[in-house]
Subunit: 345 residues, 2 copies
DNA sequence: CGATTTTCTGTGAACGTTCCCAGAGACAGC
DNA sequence: GCTGTCTCTGGGAACGTTCACAGAAAATCG
């Protein structure tokens, strides 16, 4: 006990934080009363309230969340797990929209959104520990790949959670998604409707549900005309994939006159490759994309694409988590997409 | 005590989590021994270790972080505060790079990076509470504006922290930054060196140190030729700002033959506006940008710009926080930039 | 004015860990 | 066989809250 009072030791560089007891002493009241003031409960006299508020300011008290979370058995925080390869975190504007959409919903419900990014196996383990440790009350998982270990860890401990997207091979969790297959089918049909005869696809991210489903949709729309030689595949939804992919398609089929790119970034890359190869868009080759991200308006000519409501996906997933927190079922939601027909086809 | 054993009440829908005491009981050992096993300490017999590991698996124990944080008085988490307007979160690839850079450093030091985004006043308050509550041991603040309330809150409680960038009007905290002014001066001089006579600037984000300093650098380089009429200002570093800004500049000075855009996104917008106005880049008008983001290579012609090492800014800021956590001073770091001269000027 | 309700305050217990100390046992050295 | 070191285990105390309960004081009621 002696060592404690002479608080000049170098072992603890930061000053000891004031606790609720310090406030109580300073105000000449009890712990309980201070707690009631801090939490804005009723049954505390004006006199006491002011004394406590005064004391709080004087000693510089701020509540210790760890202690509170421990006794309340909740954190009022929701984790959002971003599991993306480097390049996509820079290029994919959807992620930002999803984030903001989720944040808006959670913020209104007075939950703190904490984003955790996974960029290595070490991260993966640490994030799993973080989620399991009770530091969040729920989780939103974006861009999970088939059989993601994080998703398994979440399911195992029964943490309320929801996916953005609908990867298969993952545990049974609710999700907010769009129907990628149907949307891809629709825009490919529309492209065919402009009279194109040789239509190819630059497919991406086939390890994700979105990538896989967009390819199936394309195949469905092409029906008997489907030619596997006119599909090229790349691992990521990037501008570079579009650029390289288009060059490859031109090599394979110089007479190609239509392309469905798996995302807007891919489409932008493809358009650059086409223009450098001297093809006019849309006169010689029609190009369509997917996402209706900021890329679409930036392209010249402006891109015809599928509008996907990324912010709504984020907020819907957040709502699914909140529903579970309130003991409700949390049934999957499929949001509507819409074709944005502009100039590129 | 009676009520506790019959654990069928509906008030608590999720099953009670196993605690360290449950594990101890199941293993026929004490709390202390279980704790030692969980934390991988020495002085525990092989026999005991196996018994505990067995028991942990059997009861499905996972450590409660709130309790641990409370007694250890640390969380081993670092907050990263993103305070950006909507549009930038989508368009600015630097943010992703900074995030990954910081994450890499912290991950190696076994700290969990948690990103907190601020998108409203409500968020601002909640995030401040989160930081103050002891849920993080330190913070990295990116894109703070002059006199940011969050920065003030952090300084007030003495949380180890660092800025990315160097806003003034903010509390004395270490930072990792580049010399925006000098870099802007350098690239403007280089642009002038190509023989341009009428050079303007599309300035952005003057409420931020980066925006302000880039403008000063431009002015310094222009010296006596500086014409305030050839500077247009926009609030955000966006493609749209570049597009609109360039149109405005062309209106004000049809004979303009050089432009310094405050960022690559701005430059990309400017180039589109120029091309739509029938000007050739770089023959009629030279364009330079700032960032060397993925925009730069995407532009046609490719953009001459200032390369700024966004990932290193993130990692340097993270290192500054770690240094403070280890009781070291944490002195500001200014990182080198480099001109990437390509085709647009 | 006594009985009842309402308002207000204080305190013990609990949340689930880690830390520290005491003590038991094994083993070595002389 | 005594002393000393090393290995291992158990349990009390503390971390800083919230909660439930008890009881005092004040207000209301019949």
């Amino acid at each position: 006990m002696l060592g404690y009072s002479t608080n000049m030791s170098l072992t603890r560089t930061r000053a000891r934080r004031a606790t609720i007891n310090d406030v109580a002493d300073a105000a000449g009241l009890s712990r309980g009363t201070v707690s009631r003031v801090v939490n804005g409960e009723k049954y505390v006299s004006d006199e006491a309230r002011h004394a406590v508020e005064d004391a709080i300011a004087r000693v510089g008290y701020v509540r210790n969340s760890a202690a509170r979370n421990l006794v309340k058995q909740e954190s009022r925080a929701i984790g959002l797990i971003i599991h993306e390869p480097h390049s996509l975190l820079f290029e994919d504007p959807n992620i930002g929209s999803i984030l903001l959409g989720a944040n808006e919903v959670l913020s209104k419900a007075d939950y703190q959104l904490v984003s955790l990014i996974i960029d290595s196996d070490r991260d993966s383990r640490r994030v799993a520990d973080y989620l399991r440790g009770g530091l969040v009350d729920g989780a939103v998982i974006i861009s999970a790949r088939a059989s993601d270990p994080i998703a398994a860890a979440i399911a195992e401990i029964g943490l309320p959670a929801a996916f953005v997207g609908h990867p298969d091979g993952t545990p049974e969790l609710p999700y907010a998604a769009i129907d990628n297959e149907e949307a891809a089918r629709a825009i490919t049909s529309r492209l065919l409707g402009t009279g194109r005869k040789r239509v190819g696809m630059i497919a991406s991210a086939l390890d994700r549900d979105s990538g896989k489903d967009r390819l199936s949709g394309f195949r469905a729309a092409m029906g008997g005309q489907f030619d596997p030689g006119l599909v090229v595949e790349y691992p990521l939804y990037t501008y570079a994939a579009g650029f390289d992919g288009m060059q490859e398609l031109l090599r394979r089929a110089p007479d190609i006159d239509g392309v469905f790119a798996a995302s807007d970034a891919v489409a932008a890359g493809a358009m650059t490759a086409l223009q450098e190869a001297g093809r006019r868009v849309p006169e010689d080759v029609g190009v369509v994309g997917f996402d209706d991200s900021s890329w679409a308006l930036r392209c010249r000519p402006q891109l015809s694409t599928v509008r996907q409501p990324a912010d709504l996906l984020g907020s819907a997933a957040a709502e699914l988590v909140l529903a579970q927190l309130n003991g409700l079922p949390g049934t999957p939601r499929v949001l509507e997409t819409e074709i944005q027909w502009r100039e590129s086809a």
